[in-house]
Symmetry: C2
Subunit: 195 residues, 2 copies
């Protein structure tokens, strides 16, 4: 493994945030259900508009009856490495929310809020010694159909969680790609006063 | 202040995640630009599909020339308390990304990924002794127009960051609402195998 030991970042940034990254080499070990519950509890503590909590996480443990089905919803490239994750999840958002008048209306932030839940999931998993890898290389229409996702919900992403294995476990081509990714300079993503 | 001291949560969840909540009573103090840079650096370390990093954060410090304009983009209810934040931000996502073929295509996870950046921003702010409060009570069309947000970008949410003040600083009606919000039971947001 020749993974850069850490990112260039601001020294004040919390180590859990700096050290999080998205590997592909997992060891295929089992995750206790209790660990998964802690990880999803953390996701559920994310903020959301009007505390609507528009997120649902569909999951399968490695070896569960539904594992092959969930794995099969990823594009082939992702199946090639995600097969060794401990848990696969699909993050789903409710695109509507019920107002005080009892009427269902489009929720401006259903994806944004579900993304914030995913980030806390990633933080919590890392805190517990796991790594996470989000994916949009997913057959989304088939995922919605096969997972029974209602029409007024949206499949946002798939997520692999597991324990890291040495990169040489990966197939050719992926081994070299197993590296911490860089980021835009902060000056590019913060703008004073206007876009 | 009679704020519940903490949430019911899983004992394994990291305290930064458990203890984060969204107050409205801020003390109006100034935030050093260096702190804001650390907070936005943390946001920028979020994962995103193909590492596209679709997020931009438009900001104003309390007292900046653009402060009144940014504050005025919130609905009146939010202006009533957000006026005492140290910094206001608007989270904007790029709805498209450029593929390896150089062509701009819709990005499935632009909102989701920008939401994950917002969650890390909230974690980092809290780590530094600040509190955050996200808002979708925003005049979104006016925000996009006045902030010069391009047509292929989306204003996701506004964010207030500041130091907490006693709740009795808040106007009537908000004082009683200054409380840590509950969450759905984890069993409701995790589903084995299918929705």
């Amino acid at each position: 493994m020749s993974i850069p030991s850490q990112r260039e970042t601001h020294p004040a940034v919390h180590p859990l945030i700096t050290e999080r990254w998205s590997p592909r080499s997992f060891d295929g070990s089992a995750m206790p259900q209790e660990d998964l519950e802690a990880i999803i509890t953390a996701a559920g503590l994310a903020p959301s508009a009007y505390n609507v909590q528009p997120w649902t996480f569909i999951y399968a443990h490695h070896g569960d009856e539904s594992w092959d089905q969930l794995l099969g919803l990823l594009v082939e490239f992702n199946q090639g490495w995600a097969k060794d994750a401990s848990v696969l999840l699909f993050a789903v958002s409710d695109t509507h929310s019920t107002g005080p008048d009892g009427i269902r209306k489009p929720n401006h932030s259903h994806s944004f809020d579900t993304g914030s839940a995913w980030a806390l999931m990633a933080m919590q998993a890392q805190h517990m010694g796991y790594h996470t890898h989000g994916m949009t290389g997913v057959d989304f229409p088939r995922a919605a159909a096969e997972l029974g996702v209602p029409d007024d919900h949206r499949v946002e992403a798939a997520i692999a969680i597991g324990k890291r294995a040495p990169a040489d476990r990966l197939p050719d081509g992926l081994r070299e790609a197993e590296a911490i990714s860089g980021r835009k300079p902060v000056s590019e993503i913060m703008k004073a006063g206007r876009f």
